[in-house]
Symmetry: C2
Subunit: 126 residues, 2 copies
């Protein structure tokens, strides 16, 4: 496939790079939250940043850990149990790949939205 496939090439809008594990809205928020934080975030911080319930966040973290995108560290701060979540190297790599595909979607969509809707070469009926 060339770098600039024509607008009507088969599969032009299939966006195979939008990996469903990363594309899901809540998990996407978790990944963006973690992306720049080498030391990771605590469970409670993530929960607040992403506006998720305990149960929902746990479920999504399990999916991400199962896919080796994050690591869940269970430890203690003094006597209090503490859960810290960090992005793995694999997670960072796959997040950047996903991000590149997302930028392609935005670019395609903006190109379409800005186009004159009357100027439609090649889309004859039938």
């Amino acid at each position: 496939m060339s770098d600039t496939p024509s607008a009507d090439a088969p599969g032009r809008f299939s966006y195979d790079g939008l990996d469903r594990i990363l594309h899901e809205k809540a998990r996407l928020g978790v990944l963006v939250s973690l992306a720049a934080r080498a030391r990771g975030l605590l469970f409670g911080e993530l929960k607040e940043l992403c506006s998720l319930t305990d149960g929902n966040l746990s479920r999504h973290l399990d999916v991400l850990a199962e896919a080796s995108l994050i690591t869940i560290h269970k430890g203690y701060e003094g006597r209090r149990p503490q859960t810290r979540i960090t992005l793995t190297a694999e997670g960072k790599r796959r997040f950047l790949d996903y991000l590149a595909e997302l930028e392609r979607v935005v670019h395609d969509a903006r190109a379409c939205a800005d186009e004159d809707a009357d100027a439609e070469p090649g889309w004859a009926a039938g």
Copy 2:
């Protein structure tokens, strides 16, 4: 909420504007495909552009039509039945809203990815 919420504001990464109806990968491809085409696309054209099976495309089109984002026109080209799909005005509006949120995700993620991971003010343990 201000236009530039601080990086640790509650809900900062909840991305509520990522409407699940539009965010689903296959439906997103369908919407991008339709966005600049006032006359719409034929079922077969969409199927090819998005690399979907008949059944999958039908199912996703039903979801989008149910949400009033597209119109499905069933007609004839000569004697051959022909299905043409167009974006509604409401669909175009909601797609542009969704796109604005998607751009926010990309912007946040790029800001994170470019940040020096060692410079993390305010994310102390505990």
